[in-house]
Point group: C2
Chain length 202, copies 2
């Protein structure tokens, strides 16, 4: 759809802004904006307010860097959680994913990404020194590396393993294998190969 | 993803608001909100401002009901356009679609929908009386009905044809046939049947 076909500059500006969002094209942006136009002014104000409030008022936990409404997040400040166990993840949404499994009762550490030399992300760009400080303070028994199973994730795993080994803390990583519900013929060779090597006795 | 896994109420509220948009699920909403969080506060403010400005300041053309920044839209007020030709469409985005063809130089009339008795939309809920007034003022030679090729679109076509016939204005509708680039074996029977009946001599 051409730019000159927009009947209103207000409309065009709103579409432009929506189209900047990831995986939202101009056609989808127009559909979303026209939906907004059909809502009450109060509904639209509530939408805008929720987003600006998030951006301006959000805090990041001073311990684990997770998003938080308070200085220390609700997970780090929960006395029922096992503070001797730290799960290292890339992003905030990974914390939410692990939490949704209800299989983990330790604390987290959000790196903010993985080491990616090609993309210009080095260890100094990630929350790694704060992880070292947490471990130097003592009381940590195990660090679980729950990063992406990509080349960059593996690089970061290796870097952190070398870094943390001298502290004597147990470093582990997520089990890799065939996904639940996967058919063997649809599994890639690397995953299947690793699953064979790491086979579990029944 | 469970509600209780949200680490921040500000985050949850922003995700809730995004998830209200059509065809945006909670997972996509979270992704969009976390993208917002990585932008500068100014970028987020600009986004919010564009949407609230649209909703609060937008006008609808007093002649054709198209969205407009002025009382009469840029199409209706353009002296180069043929005011004797009115293209009747359902929605604002249909005006933009027809404009993008660059094949139409007349004016528009946005109905705001089609007659849909099952959905509780009657002629009184649409911008039909204002269309009658425009034609009663004289100077209109032809009305082109460019509505959806659905049952409701056809009902509306029929209603408008009956309504406008006494005025003596020529009423026409979009040509129907096989789409450009369509393979015959993928065309539905009704479309192909109509295309045969309305075949064009070469």
């Amino acid at each position: 759809m051409n730019v000159q076909t927009f009947p209103s500059r207000l409309l065009e500006r709103a579409v432009d802004e929506f189209a900047k969002l990831p995986s939202i094209g101009r056609r989808t942006a127009l559909r979303l904006v026209l939906h907004m136009l059909r809502q009450s002014p109060e509904t639209v104000d509530r939408f805008a307010e929720a987003i600006t409030a998030l951006r301006h008022e959000v805090k990041f936990c001073s311990v684990c860097n997770n998003i938080s409404d308070t200085d220390v997040c609700s997970i780090c400040s929960n006395p029922k959680r096992d503070a001797s166990l730290i799960c290292v993840v890339e992003h905030i949404q990974d914390v939410m994913m692990v939490e949704s499994t209800q299989q983990f009762n330790g604390l987290y550490h959000v790196l903010g990404g993985v080491i990616d030399p090609m993309g210009g992300v080095g260890p100094q760009n990630l929350n790694i020194s704060s992880l070292e400080s947490r471990i130097a303070q003592g009381g940590v028994r195990e660090v679980i590396l729950a990063l992406s199973t990509t080349m960059e994730g593996d690089t970061t795993n290796f870097y952190l393993l070398k870094l943390l080994k001298p502290s004597g803390v147990q470093v582990s990583t997520l089990a890799r294998g065939v996904s639940f519900g996967d058919e063997l013929e649809r599994t890639d060779e690397i995953t299947l190969g690793r699953a064979l090597v790491n086979r579990v006795p029944l």
